[in-house]
Symmetry: C2
Subunit: 143 residues, 2 copies
DNA sequence: AGCAATAATTGGAATTATTCTAATTCGAAG
DNA sequence: CTTCGAATTAGAATAATTCCAATTATTGCT
C-alpha cells in the first residue's frame, strides 16, 4: 500500500518492483511518482514534462502507456471534464471532482458520510454499476 | 415550450422561427427535430446522417454549429462518457446517464424525489455549481 | 553466466472528434 | 429590391490519443 501523506510522496526509487501484479518498470515508477507527487490532477502532457525532468529520455507514448497501465490496475484514477484532455488523480478514496471555472483548478470533493448511489438515483433495478464519474464546474465562493 | 411526448415529436416545419431568442434556421430546426425525435442520445455524426435524409445538403460543420447553438441556449444537453464522442439529449429535466457496457445504449437516470447535490457532497462552502455531469457505466440486471 | 521468450519502450505515423477559415448564401429589416 | 449581419458550407487544421514496427529491457530457464 502506497502512502498518500500530503507531505511525503515516494521517489521513483522508493517504489517497489511490483505493485498489485503490475511490474513497476523504471518508467512506470517515474510516472507513478509524478502522479503521486502533486494533487493537481495533471494531464498526460503535464506528467510527460514533469517526468522528463528526472528521465529526459522518456517518451510521450510511454507516459500514455504507463498511465493506462496504472489506471487499469486501479493505482491511479482517470478524470474527465467534458471534452478536455484526461487528467490523472492519485486519490483512490471515493470522491468526485470540482473544477473552478476561473482558474481551471480541479478540487477533490468527497461524499458525505454514509451516502450511497442507489440512495439518490432511480436506477433500473438489478443494475450493476462498474464505473461512476461525477464532475462539477463552477465558482468557488470568493467573497 | 417544446413538447417531449414520447410518441409525437415535432417535424422541422412545426418548430417556430425563434426559440428562447435563438433564431431557428432551416438547419437548426432540422437538427433540433432530429435530437427530439429519438431518445437514444445520438452523436454529432448520428445527427448528421439522420439530418441528411430530409436535408441532403446539410454539412457536418453546420450540424456541429447547430448543436452548439442549441446546447448553449439550453435547448439540448450535451452528454459525455469518458473520451467517447459527445452525445446529445433532448431531456431537459434533471437527470444523469447510464451506459450499458454490453450494448453501448445510454439510459436516462432520474434523481430520487427531493434529493439535492449539497445533500451528499462535501462541497467547499460558498461553492456555486454551474454545471454537473454524472455518468454511470455498467450492466443492466438481465436475469 | 548465456540464451530464448516475453514484455515494455520508443519515435513517428495514423486516427478522429472537433474546430477553424474564408468564401458563399441566407434572410430580416428598411 | 438592396443592404448587412448572421448562418452555412467545404475543406483544411488542430490536438489528444492510439497504433505500429523496430529496438531494448527483463524474465525464466539451462
Ligand atoms: Mn474513469
Ligand atoms: Mn455538459
Ligand atoms: Zn481526484
Ligand atoms: Zn439524457
Amino acid at each position: 500500500m502506497i502512502s498518500l501523506d500530503a507531505n511525503s510522496s515516494p521517489t521513483p526509487e522508493e517504489l517497489p518492483p511490483e505493485i498489485d501484479g503490475l511490474r513497476m518498470t523504471k518508467q512506470r515508477r517515474e510516472v507513478f511518482s509524478v502522479v503521486l507527487a502533486e494533487r493537481d490532477h495533471p494531464t498526460a502532457n503535464d506528467v510527460f514534462s514533469r517526468s522528463q525532468k528526472r528521465m529526459p529520455t522518456i517518451s510521450l507514448a510511454t507516459v500514455y502507456n504507463c498511465l493506462e497501465a496504472l489506471v487499469s490496475h486501479g493505482l491511479v484514477r482517470q478524470v474527465n471534464f467534458e471534452r478536455e484532455p484526461s487528467r490523472y488523480c492519485p486519490n483512490l478514496s471515493d470522491h468526485c471532482h470540482f473544477q473552478d471555472e476561473k482558474t481551471g483548478t480541479i478540487h477533490d470533493v468527497v461524499f458525505k458520510e454514509g451516502v450511497n448511489l442507489a440512495d439518490f438515483l432511480e436506477l433500473p433495478q438489478g443494475t450493476e454499476v462498474s464505473h461512476l464519474e461525477i464532475s462539477l464546474k463552477g465558482q468557488i465562493g470568493s467573497n
